[in-house]
């Protein structure tokens, strides 16, 4: 009798519906699957202690704050380069990027977070889409320059902005 019960238990566990095994996919993972840069999305959200327990608006806020942090750091990098720049065309390109990054840090991200918190997500999507576009605009400024010193950070700002815009779009 015991062997029968034991066997039944093992048998039924083996054939548990596949769905329950997939319950282990977190909200971060399923959300990030809808974004254009899955790995970047997952690492950004998981690196925040509040990430694993956040809902979608919460993940959007975490992501937006990561964009702001990265953009702020990149802005510092740009102003540092400006101090040393001697070539006038390089200076112009850097100055333009200061404007673009100011827009991201002072306007796009704060507005987007406000929009998500208050429940008008289209302004959140618009803010992060603009942030991605500001990063693209900065890259264009360097098309005729021999080097693009902030290329790596600029790409992260762009890609992460696109990710967060996607996440907020889930709320529309």
């Amino acid at each position: 009798m015991n062997r029968f019960i034991c066997f039944s238990l093992i048998f039924s566990f083996t054939f548990l519906p596949v769905k329950s095994r997939e319950n282990s996919a977190t909200l971060i993972e399923t959300t990030c699957k809808t974004t254009p840069f899955y790995n970047l999305c997952v690492s950004a959200l998981q690196s925040d202690p509040d990430g694993p327990s956040a809902d979608i608006p919460g993940l959007a806020r975490i992501g937006a704050n990561k964009v702001k942090a990265k953009a702020t750091a990149t802005l510092r990098q740009i102003t540092g380069l400006l101090k040393e720049a001697k070539d006038p065309s390089l200076k112009t390109a850097l100055l333009d990027c200061v404007d673009f990054y100011n827009a991201i840090v002072e306007y796009d991200v704060p507005m987007a977070i406000d929009a998500v918190v208050k429940g008008d997500p289209k302004f959140g999507v618009q803010g992060l889409n603009d942030a991605a576009n500001e990063a693209l605009a900065c890259a264009r400024r360097f098309e005729n320059q021999p080097k693009f010193p902030i290329e790596g950070n600029n790409k992260v700002v762009h890609d992460l902005s696109a990710v967060v815009a996607s996440i907020i779009a889930l709320l529309l």
Binding site: A115, A137, L172
Partner: protein
């Protein structure tokens, strides 16, 4: 993609050169009192409007609380007093005698109660019996929930209604554990209407997951509101319904009627703003006032693929009954297509469209919109043209008007349809079709139309045009607004817009009217059957350096049966 555009442009110019660059001669113009038209542009503000509504600076969005009171039009609107992006939202307020010139007042509604302490969002005016205006609007409460509040004028003898007082009972409608309304998706109350039981009804936009809803509330006294057991209407997969509008239109004629009217002489229109796509779409149908059920007519498309007020940049629109002129008027918001960095530099963002008179088409299947006639008093320097055949490959300049601040109305007749391309049955998305077949893509019958806000050498231009295809049993007219070469500044959104125009070019002339205003191109096809608005930011085609052309990049000649163009005088918009 850029390469093929370049090649296309080269071919276009080659054809141009071979046909000769034909310019309208001065003798063909009829000048009447050549007036100096004041332009709004200054060297550092080339994009501010001459006659479209906008405040002196900062961010605006939705028009709110539209109404008439004691012979004066009132426009309230979402406004950020602190900057050029959305935020810190209050109800700014302007009044007008003519829907063209506006006088600003102090903001009418700003956060002051728990019900709106975190924001005073959109809402609508209802004129109560006795002529008393009442505003229902969405407030953001201390928990950041969306709730509905009531405000009434403080002093009814002030014709400008500058001050408003809020009900101490606010919020009057809010999400609760019982009603399970989504606290971040409950906003934009409409103008209320009276049912046969003498109770007020209002709808509020909402959603559950991706199901859009128009939640219905009823009230006897305009203060105590009870949710109806079912929404007025809902639809799957559309996402959030913002800025709903629900109103009757007469079957015949162009008059407006009271929002509470119902019966065999009217149809009803339910309009929604889709958060997901930022398009305003509507259906025409019937409203059962006793059961509070709205049923769109058979064949209606209740989604982003349905009928839109405008197939371009146009959102959060709202109608009101203009009791002065006995018409229903539509006002909408056009946000910027520029980058936020550029908006911060220029210090402002957002404009409103010219108010449109709307009425039901005689087919009963769609609405017609036309800029209110009052705007025509701004016209000056009338330029006209005798009937002319526009050969394939021509570009003809229209001189004598300020091309950056103009009103142009042109009609085409088609002498022959043999060269019209076949419409592939899979081409059902007009926006996509216009993007793939822009103005520089030569065609059989078309593209032909206008090049506005164009630089002298055409390196910048916004093309508004028609392209005619041979469809199954009839000819199909595609109307496009092509912004792809509107500006050399790459930081702008230069998306192309398109719509199918329900006009039979075999039996009717094809008309196109464009209102041009520095960074706005508002176009009306077929006398208002399809409207496309766009925001553009030329870097060369600014003020006196802007030009206006008529073009035909098809192989078939078309006849310009009528061309009227005017400079537009500056209006006092703020």
């Amino acid at each position: 993609m850029a390469k093929s555009c370049f090649v296309g442009l080269c071919l276009f110019f080659a054809v141009l050169a071979s046909h000769g660059f034909v310019e309208l001669q001065a003798s063909h113009h009829v000048y009447r009192n050549l007036e100096t038209v004041q332009s709004s542009a200054s060297a550092d503000q080339p994009y501010r409007t001459g006659y479209h509504f906008q405040p002196p600076k900062n961010w605006i969005n939705d028009p709110n609380g539209l109404m008439v009171y004691k012979g004066i039009y009132h426009l309230f609107y979402q406004y950020n007093p602190k900057g050029a992006v959305w935020g810190n939202i209050v109800w700014a307020h302007s009044t007008s005698k003519d829907l063209v010139n506006w006088t600003p007042h102090e903001p009418a509604i700003h956060p002051s109660q728990p019900g709106d302490i975190n924001g005073c969002w959109s809402g609508s005016a209802t004129i109560l019996p006795g002529g008393v205006p009442a505003m229902l609007y969405t407030g953001i409460d201390p928990k950041n929930s969306q709730v509905q509040n009531l405000a009434v004028p403080k002093n009814l003898s002030d014709p400008y209604l500058r001050e408003w007082v809020k009900s101490p009972k606010n919020p009057l409608m809010q999400p609760t554990a019982e009603n399970r309304i989504n606290a971040s998706s409950f906003r934009d109350p409409t103008t209320a209407w009276l049912g046969p039981d003498k109770k007020w009804r209002v709808i509020i936009g909402s959603k559950i997951d991706r199901r859009g809803l128009a939640i219905l509330f009823k009230s006897k006294d305009f203060v105590n509101w009870v949710q109806a057991p079912t929404p007025l209407r809902a639809a799957e997969g559309t996402g959030m319904w913002e800025c709903p509008d629900f109103y009757p239109v007469p079957l015949r004629g162009r008059n407006g009627v009271d929002t509470s009217l119902n019966g065999p002489s009217v149809k009803h229109v339910l309009k929604l703003s889709l958060d997901d796509t930022k398009h305003d779409f509507y259906t025409v149908g019937s409203y059962d006032g006793s059961r509070d059920v709205y049923t769109p007519d058979k064949g209606s498309v209740e989604s982003d693929s349905g009928l839109r007020y405008d197939y371009g940049k146009y959102y959060a629109s709202k109608t009101f009954l203009d009791s002065i002129k006995n018409r229903r008027v539509l006002c909408g918001w056009l946000n910027e297509s520029s980058s936020v960095a550029d908006d911060i530099k220029k210090g402002w963002a957002g404009v409103h469209a010219i108010p449109r008179h709307i009425w039901l088409d005689k087919s009963g299947k769609q609405l017609i919109q036309w800029p209110v006639a009052e705007i025509e008093k701004l016209r000056a320097n009338h330029v006209t043209l005798p009937t002319k055949l526009l050969k394939g490959g021509s570009v003809v300049e229209v001189s004598g008007v300020t091309a950056s601040q103009a009103d142009v109305d042109i009609s085409f007749e088609i002498p022959g349809f043999d060269k019209a391309e076949l419409l592939d049955p899979s081409w059902t998305n007009p926006q996509l079709l216009c993007s793939q077949k822009g103005a520089s893509v030569k065609g059989g019958l078309g593209p032909f139309g206008l090049l506005v806000l164009a630089s002298k050498g055409l390196s910048e231009n916004t093309a508004v045009f028609f392209r005619i295809f041979k469809g199954q049993n009839k000819h199909v007219v595609l109307m496009c607004s092509d912004q792809s070469r509107s500006s050399l500044n790459q930081n702008n959104d230069k998306t192309t817009y398109g719509a199918f125009l329900d006009v039979d070019p075999l039996h009717q002339s094809l008309s196109l009217r464009s209102l041009i205003d520095h960074s706005i191109v508002e176009s009306f096809g077929g006398g208002g059957k399809a409207c496309i608005s766009a925001r553009v930011y030329p870097t060369l085609a600014i003020d006196n350096a802007a030009h206006l052309f008529v073009f035909n990049n098809g192989s078939e000649a078309v006849r310009i049966s009528k061309l009227n163009a005017w400079s537009m005088n500056k209006a006092k918009v703020n």
